[in-house]
């Protein structure tokens, strides 16, 4: 019977082992996960274009935060830290995608990949998430016409597809695209001091 006893002891141990104490930092990470996971996933999806991969990146981002929790100072800037991790994970994914090369149309996929890599590498991929800019986005809404604003808000807040917005507003999907491009124009105009948009032309001129 001694072995029987031993076996039940093992079970006893096994039941105990997952009891990792929850402390203040872990509570903060859980809070951050709840409020920011969807944002990080959206960010990754915007550049990877694949929801499965975006979910992996978002989960990995928070795992990395958790692994690093002893060295992270939790404040408002932690969101920025999460975005930095997510960006690097997305870049890794896009670069390894390039090497893997199992695309149907390799050259085209590579070109789109290159564009997304360039977009992530640009400083605006992170800088546009600051509180200051978020405030400007709110202000820019008042500069849009009612129809454009409505379309923009439906797209952002409700996460509707353009076809859904079109059906809801009684216009064609093409008109929705048109309104979104107008919204983007307003935003670019409103934020022009923060955007290095003319730099491109300047660089071209120098070389």
């Amino acid at each position: 019977l001694s072995r029987l006893f031993f076996v039940s002891q093992i079970h006893f141990f096994l039941h105990l082992s997952p009891a990792i104490p929850m402390d203040e930092t872990e509570a903060k990470i859980e809070e951050l996960f709840k409020s920011k996971y969807k944002l990080i996933r959206y960010f990754a999806y915007s550049y990877l274009g694949d929801m499965d991969l975006a979910e992996n990146v978002a989960q990995d981002t928070f795992v990395k935060l958790w692994q690093n929790r002893d060295n992270v100072y939790f404040d408002k800037g932690t969101v920025n830290y999460l975005l930095v991790i997510a960006r690097n994970l997305c870049l890794n994914q896009l670069r390894s995608d390039k090497q893997r090369g199992n695309y149907e149309d390799f050259a085209l996929r590579k070109a789109v990949n290159d564009f997304n890599i360039a977009a992530l590498e640009d400083s605006t991929s992170l800088s546009l998430y600051s509180d200051e800019i978020r405030k400007l986005y709110g202000e820019a809404l008042t500069k849009m016409t009612d129809k454009v604003r409505e379309t923009f808000i439906l797209s952002r807040e409700k996460g509707l597809t353009y076809n859904e917005i079109a059906a809801l507003s009684g216009v064609t999907p093409k008109a929705v695209e048109n309104r979104m491009s107008t919204a983007l124009k307003v935003l670019r105009e409103y934020l022009k001091d923060f955007l290095p948009i003319l730099l491109g032309y300047l660089a071209l001129w120098v070389f």
Partner: protein
């Protein structure tokens, strides 16, 4: 500044036709200024539509599962990390930390011992199609459960008497894993690199990213794959012919000894994998089958002397009961007599 066209919006959303994509990427290649402006516009577009939204409970549970799996790993590795904040925590939770450390070391030793013991007894047969290089093989002996995180961070919870074989690094176009026994797989999603689990009952499970339970013991009557979420393909290879069975969540693919597959669906399949939460559920299970499960669960041998009792149905849920307690219960409810001696239960 360039005009913003609807086309760009479609491009940022990945909704362009290949022709449109080609036109835009060609233009970017030949005009760096245009490319740079597109880069900034994309970032503007993406960030302006970003918003905060609460994560779902499932997403949070998945995250907790992952850091939970990491937690024990880290405790095995670490040991010297003098950090003031950690030290503070250690005082608060000193006892808990010590206990879980002891448990982790014990588990590690047991897994190791069992592995070595089995390795000597029956050398690990590498699965043919596995990529060359280092191959890991892990075995949980009877009475022990284990958990392993694969190189792609998929999580596999192993029931007793199970073996999983996997490469140190997944390479190639598929993630190849060898398996026998029972396990709860939480496969990390990767739509470009499916995972193929070769079960030794002559079938493969092919998945891209999903959660499922597989029970495939060599001596069992049926091999059962139960899907929790996502989708899986069960691929049998019978006389050179491939037979594919697709199953949906809450369905099982049951393969009998003679290789016939059928699909069963359940309202609540949880009891199929309740074992991973430490529950042993019998639902009109024939005594003969229950014995096999108890042998694995508790690491003891059973002998059934009276063959007429083979099909006696058992319905019960056990959690932390010892073999003695379980046998007592069966004695009172079914009226069966038993003796225990020398790690062996004999049912008369």
């Amino acid at each position: 500044m360039m005009e913003i066209e609807e086309l760009y919006i479609r491009f940022f959303q990945n909704r362009c036709t290949p022709q449109e994509q080609k036109m835009l990427t060609d233009k970017m290649e030949s005009d760096p200024a245009f490319k740079h402006e597109m880069v900034v516009l994309k970032n503007l577009y993406v960030s302006s539509l970003a918003k905060d939204e609460e994560a779902s409970p499932e997403e949070l549970a998945k995250f907790k599962e992952r850091i939970g799996a990491l937690g024990s790993e880290r405790k095995l590795e670490s040991g010297q990390k003098p950090d003031s904040r950690r030290a503070g925590r250690r005082i608060d939770f000193g006892k808990a930390a010590l206990w879980s450390m002891a448990a982790a070391i014990l588990l590690f030793l047991i897994l190791n011992l069992n592995f070595n013991w089995v390795a000597k007894k029956s050398p690990v047969v590498p699965i043919e199609s596995l990529a060359s290089g280092d191959v890991n093989s892990l075995y949980t002996s009877k009475g022990v459960k284990g958990r392993v995180v694969l190189p792609d961070s998929s999580i596999v919870t192993l029931n007793s008497d199970s073996r999983i074989t996997y490469p140190a690094r997944f390479a190639g176009s598929t993630r190849e894993v060898g398996f026998t026994g029972e396990a709860y797989f939480q496969v990390r999603k990767d739509s470009l690199m499916p995972m193929v689990i070769h079960c030794d009952r002559n079938f493969d499970i092919k998945v891209y990213g999903t959660t499922f339970n597989v029970k495939s013991y060599k001596d069992d009557r049926d091999a059962v794959t139960t899907l929790v979420e996502g989708n899986v393909k069960v691929v049998q290879n019978l006389d050179g012919k491939e037979i594919v069975t697709n199953i949906k969540p809450n369905e099982s693919c049951v393969i009998s000894k003679d290789g016939v597959a059928k699909v069963e669906s359940y309202k609540d399949p949880k009891e199929k994998y309740a074992w991973k939460d430490g529950k042993l559920i019998f639902d009109s299970t024939p005594l003969e089958d229950a014995i096999v499960i108890l042998e694995r669960w508790h690491g003891v041998d059973f002998e059934l002397l009276d063959p007429s009792k083979k099909n006696m149905p058992i319905t019960a849920t056990f959690t932390t009961e010892s073999v003695v307690q379980i046998m007592d219960l069966l004695h009172f409810s079914l009226g069966i007599d038993y003796t225990i001696s020398d790690n062996k239960v004999t049912i008369k």
